[in-house]
Amino acid sequence: MAQGSDQAGANRPRLSLHVPEPRFRPGDDADFSHLEIPEAGAQTRPDEACGAGETWPLCTDLIRVLGDDNQAHGAWDPRLNPDQLREMLRDMALVRAFDARMYRAQRQGKTSFYLKCTGEEATSIAATHAVDFEDMIFPSYRQQGCLIARDYPLVEMVNQIYSNRADKLKGRQLPILYSAKSVNFFSISGNLATQLPQATGFAMASAIKHDSKIAIGWVGEGSTAEGDFHSALTFAAVYNAPVIINVVNNQWAISSFSGFAGAERTTFAARAIGYGIAGLRVDGNDALAVYAAQRWAADRARSNKGPTLIEFFTYRAEGHSTSDDPSAYRSADEAQEWPLGGPISRLRDHLVAIGEWSLEQHEEMDREVAEEVRAATKEAEKNGILGHGLHHPFHTMFEDVFEDLPWHLEEQSKQAIRERQIKWPDDK
């Protein structure tokens, strides 16, 4: 019930509620000149075994390696050989080609949903290249790059997206909510940030067993607002767990800009300071910086120096998903005006600048990866597309709720089979 305003507080200033508002809306010219973009190579690189506090200045800085001159600069240069750079470049090109084709497939009615990672390819691919294959990945929904970087078969990804009869998840999950234990990639949840306490728990288990594996969790900046984020970082700090929490700050959570997760007040990396753990803020469109930061955190975790929170500062160049229309809430200029460029073009230009790549080679690679995706799609389509009957056998719906089928599910499965026979009496 609203209280009268002219009683006890009559002489006090009137309160007002702040509701964040992004700088640009549809029709506005996007201008990111307010962003502080430091020189590449200007950031100090503390030793991996340093006290967490030594990293805290980096939580409000921005670790950058690739400069405007397309050269690698400074202490964070991971000094990768050209073959490694070309592998990362190819993986990023492959995921972009995959996204393009799957987006079209959804528009063609072959599946219900798709979600691109355009502009954010480095935050999953370079990061995955920087950790070991045995390390467990706890992804959010925009980390298809992690699967690509671990050479998970494209055809399995398409099978999952089509929920067809070859889908290893038996057609149960929304497209792109992969699970791939064979490449140490945890099942993706549609509920956000739940994977972070799980990543911490996996890391704790590894430490309990004196193993050497670490865990890496990814989360968008928007869902850092969930309690799970706080729980994960609290447990990670309390038990000094060998876990890396990557916050992909792509500026947008569907239509809500990062201000609704607290970005108007401080950076996401700066959350680390409150937990007393290491934190790094990284140019997420700079594959070399992403690799270097992830490698730093992995080496730190592996040597029992504890968790690291990393913010990858990037930009979601496309809509949230096939169900989204970003022109309804943000300026169409933003992607082009984004001051940190694109992750693929920046790594390409670096390789060209050091004499290890050419634009002709790049075009040829783009053709190759597009063909690779096309072949995988064709192969997967032999097993069906969504809604065209080539799904998993009917009874599998009741499997895996429990290890064994209890009586009530057995009764319900008989009901389902009966319904099917009534609807399609000639179907065997």
């Binding site: 467990m136 706890f138 290893k168 998840l169 038996k170 149960r172 999950q173 909510l177 699970s179 234990k181 945890f186 099942s187 949840s189 509920n191 739940t194 972070l196 306490p197 799980q198 990543a199 911490t200 728990g201 996996f202 890391a203 704790m204 288990a205 590894s206 430490a207 309990i208 067993k209 865990a215 309690g227 799970d228 706080h230 729980s231 994960a232 609290t234 447990f235 309390v238 499997e399 895996d400 709720v401 429990f402 290890e403 209890p406 009586w407 009530h408």
Partner: protein, 351 residues
């Protein structure tokens, strides 16, 4: 597993234990048998738990296998999911069932669904232990019985023991189960059976036949009810504390009731329920939780659907009232002997 198969219960020496001691014993047995079992929860480590269920276990098994956690139920359940993915078999404790709600998303959307959504690539073989129920002047935040939140979720098993003997065997079975199990411990009967006559002296478990707990390993399969007493006049379906309250009322009133202790709510021992109701033709469902959408509604519907032509009277439900658990009026809320007695009388009069 590091030891031999179950010993024969008939030959095993037994010790009289409280339910707390029996739970502690079960945890000790499993920590010893399986190096992948670990315990975590608030105050469970050095201190041994606010109800002493984990007393001495950290000292015996080490502090990386039995340890305290931050006050974060979301975190406790969430890390247990990750530990399960690694290959451990975690046994988290939620200090009071009333505190389980911050962990609900991790239980409902994650632990319960992980097997299904990964097509059995990944599982969450955790047993969430939590003291529940009222009758200890816990007020509305230390008395709730939230079992029906969990029985409603596909992928979770829900267990409620009513004796020290069953608590140990069921807890061992729950820990060995490869699905997530919610294990609610009725705290009013931690230290002794409670027949609902709160104004009479409290009894201890000492010398109670169901407090004779065999030494070492044994398990009671999940999904099997126990016939507490046989009878012909009506069937009473109960679990946890209410088994003892129902038993007390039947004893006082001299009613020839058959009492089934369900022990596991999901999966339910439907055969035992059907068999008993078909014999007696009358059914009373008793639980301490609030009435509307409680597990009694499910039981009542199942009995009506499956035993209707054997029924001689409508199925009765005796439950807590649909209010929060009030501190000073605890016994007015509690479904005690008067409420149960009235329902029994109605059923016996019906024909």
């Amino acid at each position: 597993m590091t030891q031999d198969d179950p010993i024969s219960l008939a030959d095993a020496p037994a010790t009289s234990m409280s339910m707390i001691e029996a739970i502690n014993d079960a945890l000790d047995v499993m920590l010893t048998r399986d190096p992948d079992v670990i315990l975590l929860g608030e105050d469970i480590g050095y201190f041994g738990g606010v109800f002493r269920c984990t007393a001495g276990l950290q000292e015996k098994h080490g502090k990386t296998r039995v340890f305290d956690t931050p006050i974060s139920e979301c975190g406790i359940i969430g890390v247990a999911v990750g530990m399960g993915a690694y290959g451990l078999r975690p046994v988290p404790e939620i200090q009071f069932a009333d505190y389980i709600y911050p962990g609900l998303d991790q239980l409902v959307s994650e632990a319960a669904r992980l097997r299904y959504r990964s097509a059995a690539e990944l599982i969450a073989p955790m047993t969430v232990r939590s003291p529940f129920g009222g009758g200890i002047f816990g007020g509305q935040t230390h008395s709730q019985s939230p079992e029906s939140f969990f029985t409603h979720v596909s992928g979770l098993k829900t267990v409620v023991p009513s004796t020290p003997h069953d608590a140990k065997g069921l807890l061992i079975a729950a820990i060995e189960d490869n699905d997530p199990v919610i294990f609610f411990e009725p705290k009013r009967i931690y230290n002794g059976p409670f027949d609902g006559y709160y104004d009479r002296p409290a009894k201890s478990w000492k010398d109670h036949p169901d407090a004779a707990v065999p030494e070492g390993y044994y398990s009671i399969p999940l999904g099997s009810a126990r016939t507490v007493r046989e009878g012909n006049a009506l069937t009473i379906l109960a679990y946890g504390t209410m088994v003892h309250v129902a038993e007390g009322v039947c004893r006082e009133k001299g009613v020839d009731a058959e009492i089934l202790d369900l022990r596991t709510l999901v999966p339910l021992d439907i055969e035992a329920v059907e068999k008993s109701v078909e014999k007696t033709g009358k059914c009373l469902v008793v639980h301490e939780a609030t009435r509307t959408s409680g597990f009694g509604a499910e039981l009542s519907a199942l009995v009506t659907e499956r035993c209707f032509y054997h029924l001689e009277a409508p199925v009765e439900r005796v439950t807590g009232f649909d209010t929060p658990y009030p501190h000073s009026l605890e016994w007015a809320y509690f479904p005690g002997p008067v409420r149960i007695g009235e329902a029994i009388d109605r059923l016996l009069e019906a024909s």
